[in-house]
């Protein structure tokens, strides 16, 4: 019954006008009949009409009761509030505009950040058929980490023996230079098993997907491209299918395009190219890779059981469970461990639901933390914007006191007025949100298009992204409430009588501390925190960019040549590298060429070896871990790292000669302080481990990070180490990137089967190492800029309003002989006072912020006087400017005009 009544009432909302007319007819008919009866009883027409009205009772009260019964009173009130709010806002377009712009900036940036976070954390893992049936399969790594990759031979065995999984796919993120005719672009793709698309249940948007036939050895090179790639490079023309493109220097035929919503198996990386496993050797993988020697197996990555680099995903049979699938694969793995102990002993299998993984079970945590931090920083910006609007609303409240007093006096309840005022601020916020979506969207579009490299995470603010729109709507509502609450409370706590009598005093000159002042000071304070943080990070980035890394990366090319993977043994490798280095040195422009196992500042290689000093460390001592590399003699020349003491490696340092090492100064200082390290000895790993004699001391150079202070490092002669695969490093007078290509071509004439899994210029390695501090600096600069502009608007608005309220007082002062300059100072003093208070509070807060930032800082102290004073100067300069405009206006008041108007 209740539901029926509710339904009736809801329907009545849409037919209110007709219901009203019907009721009027009813009343008219009733009154007529009543009056007619009195006339029949002998009354005059007028008397009869009057008596009928009395008998009927109050028509308006009855109508009101009738309406309450008919509609939904709450809804009607809300509608009324909305219309009233819209009317009020239309009447003061200036206020509405500035408030909406302030909130719009805050909301827009938060929405943009959320869009990124959403893309990272909440976008569908993959738009594939029944993802609830999918599970990710991981093998534990040598280091005991749970969620590591698997090898191709293991994959084939898993796939052949699993019954719980209907089928299993293997894939790895890959990277390659891709060219559609023009210059190459570095692109992220996926190398996939032939059954990949069939198992995921993904069909092509154009052409066809990759099929098992594409994954046979010797099958023609086929590539599937993403919808985005198709749009950008081919304008979604259908003749793109069949076109040949260059991937890592090899011609691939495009066989099809993936659907628009398909994001690959690692949505975060947004792969754009899919190629078959069969051609893996041509394309670098870039996921998690681990290598243990697997004796007696073929040379290629697809044949080596000890080379783990593949992510596996299986589709469960109906009714099968994750646990069963895991137990089954674990059993397979135990058989493999018995059969191939060198590669498969002590490994465990983990199976995780695909839907519960974002990027990778371990990486997910770090991503979530970073996202939360970003949202917090920009949330603070929104808070500044809210403070701005609160300030403006408070100003309006004092201007609207008479209106509010009238409404209170004629019986509006306080609650009703409160709601009314909150509706108003919320409406501003919603308007701001709607307006901010447009520039926000444009900004993201522009940012994505203008980026020089393919962004790893394409940011999309699509109208159909319900998360992002929902977020924008919620924070707008929240911002509206937060901004409006204090003014609304203040407005409705008003003493009615003096307002109505018109003798409420407008605030006069003295400095009285009000909520509005506090808000402006708070904005200034937050802006200062951002400015100081941004200044510190910018200085760090600048310092890091100019830092002496201790080596010269200019013109240095590094080409990884894993000849071990194409079947070379140590003897063949030595012969190959001797000839290879000769040929590279003969290339035009090359000044030096050598071998290295590890590159400085390479984030992927942090190898350390325990070092023990005879006579210092005991037999059961674990030693001191020190970073280690192996190099050929010319390495030092290529990197321009001087040998300060002793000698370089030379041709005499062979496998049969005594083992020698070159340590850097930091290591020499650490182990043999105050004496020469030359001739000193140390052992590796244990007191029974190999013993090395220090023959040289090199200058210090950066090993892991740009920010580190001289880290101990030692070099072992490559020829004595006996490794098979090396990275060739060469220095040219010309372009290092061009040298990479030249070296590759040259080496291919020497060994046609050679593959090049990692080619980098040393300059790009250094640039990558500097990326985190640069990113942090630029995002905090953006936040600081916004917060400062908002605070400036807030201060300007506050002072401008104060001036307009004090027009009469100022006019009197002028009339009594105050000079323009005096008026100017009078007004300015107040604004600068607020800026000063804000600066003090901001400095206190910035102490904490700077301390938190210290891990990111490089060559800059947390209390760097230059950064701090620059930030404070900017704050006051902006404060002065925001102050000057209204102050000048105040000084130009024409006393007669002003006083007459009042």
């Amino acid at each position: 019954m209740r539901l029926r009544v509710l339904l009736w009432r809801v329907l009545a909302l849409f037919t209110a006008r007709r219901h009203e007319a019907d009721l009027n007819d009813d009343i008219a008919a009733h009154l007529d009949l009543l009056a007619a009866e009195y006339i029949r009883n002998g009354m005059s027409a007028d008397d009869a009409r009057a008596k009928a009205r009395r008998e009927f009772g109050g028509v308006d009260q009855m109508k009101e009761a009738y309406r309450d019964q008919r509609g939904l009173p709450l809804f009607a009130v809300l509608w009324q509030d909305l219309r009233y709010a819209a009317r009020t806002l239309r009447r003061s377009p200036g206020f509405t505009f500035v408030a909406a712009v302030s909130l719009g900036i805050g909301i827009g940036f938060n929405t943009a950040v959320f869009a990124i976070v959403d893309a990272v954390l909440f976008s569908p893992v993959s738009t594939v058929h029944r993802s609830d049936q999918l599970a990710d399969v991981f093998t534990t790594g040598r280091d005991g980490e749970t969620y590591q990759t698997s090898s191709y031979p293991d994959y084939l065995d898993f796939r052949a023996s699993s019954t719980a999984f209907r089928d299993i796919i293997a894939y790895s993120p890959s990277s390659a230079a891709v060219s559609t005719g023009g210059p190459s672009r570095f692109m992220i793709g996926e190398v996939v098993s032939g059954n990949y698309f069939q198992v995921l249940g993904v069909n092509a948007a154009a052409g066809r997907t990759l099929i098992p036939e594409d994954d046979r050895p010797g099958a023609p090179r086929a590539a599937l491209i993403s919808y985005r790639f198709w749009q950008r490079e081919f304008g979604t023309r259908s003749d793109a299918v069949g076109t040949t493109i260059q991937i890592a220097g090899h011609p691939y035929t495009i066989v099809g395009v993936t659907p628009k919503e398909f994001v690959g198996s690692m949505s975060l990386l947004k792969p754009q190219i899919w190629t078959a496993m069969a051609w893996k050797s041509e394309i670098d993988d870039m996921g998690i890779s681990e290598y243990v020697p697997s004796p007696g197996e073929g040379p290629s990555q697809l044949e080596r059981r000890g080379w783990r680099w593949l992510f596996l995903k299986g589709r469960l049979q109906d009714g099968e469970t994750i646990e069963r699938a895991r137990d089954e694969l674990q059993a397979v793995n135990e058989q493999l461990a018995a059969q191939f102990p060198a590669t498969n002993k002590n490994r465990r299998i983990s199976v995780v639901r695909t839907d519960s993984v974002r990027l990778h079970p371990q990486a997910d945590l770090a991503i979530q933390a970073t996202s939360a931090l970003l949202l917090a920083v920009f949330g603070l910006v929104l808070l500044v914007a809210c403070a701005n609007v609160t300030g403006m609303l408070l100003a309006r409240v004092s201007g609207r006191q008479t209106e509010i007093a009238v409404r209170l006096a004629i019986g509006a309840s306080r609650r009703r007025l409160l709601l009314q005022l909150l509706t108003e601020s919320t409406m501003v916020a919603l308007t701001a949100a709607a307006a901010s979506l447009v520039p926000g969207w444009l900004l993201l579009r522009l940012g994505a298009a203008g980026a020089p490299v393919e962004l790893p995470i394409p940011i999309t603010l699509e109208a159909n992204n319900i998360h992002v729109l929902g977020f924008a709507a919620s924070i707008s509502l929240l911002a509206g409430m937060v901004a409006g609450l204090a003014p609304a409370l203040k407005a409705t706590r008003l003493d009615v009588m003096p307002q109505l009598k018109g003798d409420a005093p407008a605030r006069v000159g003295r400095l009285r501390w009000s909520l509005r002042d506090a808000l402006v000071a708070l904005q200034m304070a937050i802006a200062l925190v951002f400015l100081i943080s941004a200044a510190l990070l910018t200085r760090s980035a600048m310092a890091a960019g100019q830092v002496d890394v201790g080596f010269h990366p200019e013109g240095v090319a590094a080409v990884s040549t894993p000849v071990g993977h194409i079947g070379y043994d140590a003897t063949r490798a030595t012969a190959f590298y001797n000839r290879a280095l000769e040929r590279v040195r003969a290339l035009p422009g090359v000044e030096a060429a050598g071998l290295s196992w590890r590159l400085p500042l390479d984030l992927t290689n942090f190898y350390q070896e325990p070092v023990l000093i005879p006579g210092v460390h005991d037999a059961d001592d674990k030693g001191v871990p020190v970073d280690r590399t192996m190099v050929s003699p010319d390495y030092f020349k290529v990197l321009s790292v001087p040998i300060l003491e002793g000698r370089n490696f030379d041709a005499a340092d062979t496998q049969n000669a005594p083992r020698v090492a070159i340590v850097n100064q930091a290591m020499a200082q650490k182990f043999w302080p105050n004496v020469s390290a030359i001739g000193k000895r140390f052992r590796l790993r244990s007191q029974d481990g190999p013993e090395y004699e220090v023959v040289g001391v090199s200058a210090n150079y950066k090993v892991r990070t740009v920010g580190e202070t001289s880290r101990p490092y030692f070099h072992v002669a490559a020829a004595q180490w006996g490794g098979v695969s090396w990275t060739i490093v060469a220095k040219t007078r010309g372009d290092a990137a061009a040298l990479i290509g030249a070296i590759q071509n040259d080496l291919l004439t020497l060994e046609p089967n050679l593959v090049f899994p990692g080619n980098r210029t040393l300059e790009s390695v250094v640039a990558t190492a500097l990326l985190p501090v640069r990113f942090a600096a630029s995002s905090l600069n953006a936040a600081g800029l916004i917060a400062m502009s908002l605070a400036a608007v807030g201060l300007y608005g506050m002072i401008a309003y104060a001036v307009s309220r004090r027009t009469r007082e100022l006019a009197v002062r002028i009339a009594l002989g105050a000079t323009r300059r005096e008026i100017l100072t009078l007004v300015m003093r107040r604004g600068l006072f607020l800026a000063a208070i804000g600066a003090l509070v901001g400095m206190a807060l910035a102490v904490a912020a700077a301390r938190g930032l210290s891990i990111l800082l490089y060559k800059v102290e947390s209390y760097d006087p230059l950064s701090w004073s620059a930030a404070i100067v900017v704050l006051f300069a902006v404060g002065l400017l925001a102050n000057l405009v209204p102050a000048r206006r105040a000084s130009r008041i024409e006393p007669m005009t002003a006083l007459r108007r009042e």
């Binding site: 009813d26 009733h30 009949l33 009738y66």
Partner: protein
Amino acid sequence: MAMKPAPSEVPYGTLDLMVLKTLQALGPLHGYGIARRIEQVSRGTLALNQGTIYPALLRLTQKGWISSEWGTSDNNRRARYYSITRAGRKQLAVEAVSWAQTVAMMERLLKDEM
């Protein structure tokens, strides 16, 4: 001479019952007719603002106990004629019983007290 008691307010909730009973007894009626009938039956013991009948009629319509149809009044005006529905009759029966019980209970209570 005993004082005639002043006309009392309509007890809360009884107006709906009166309207239902009136419509059941007399068939379709417009608002004026219903109000007149209730006044006649009360013989001046009830102070009824005739207008209050309309919110009651709306309430009963919403609950589905009465329905209305447009017609023409005696003096040729457009007027709504209300009639009781089947659900309304059922409700009337239920409420009549419950009302009778209440009255009987009150009567017993008041007599014992005096």
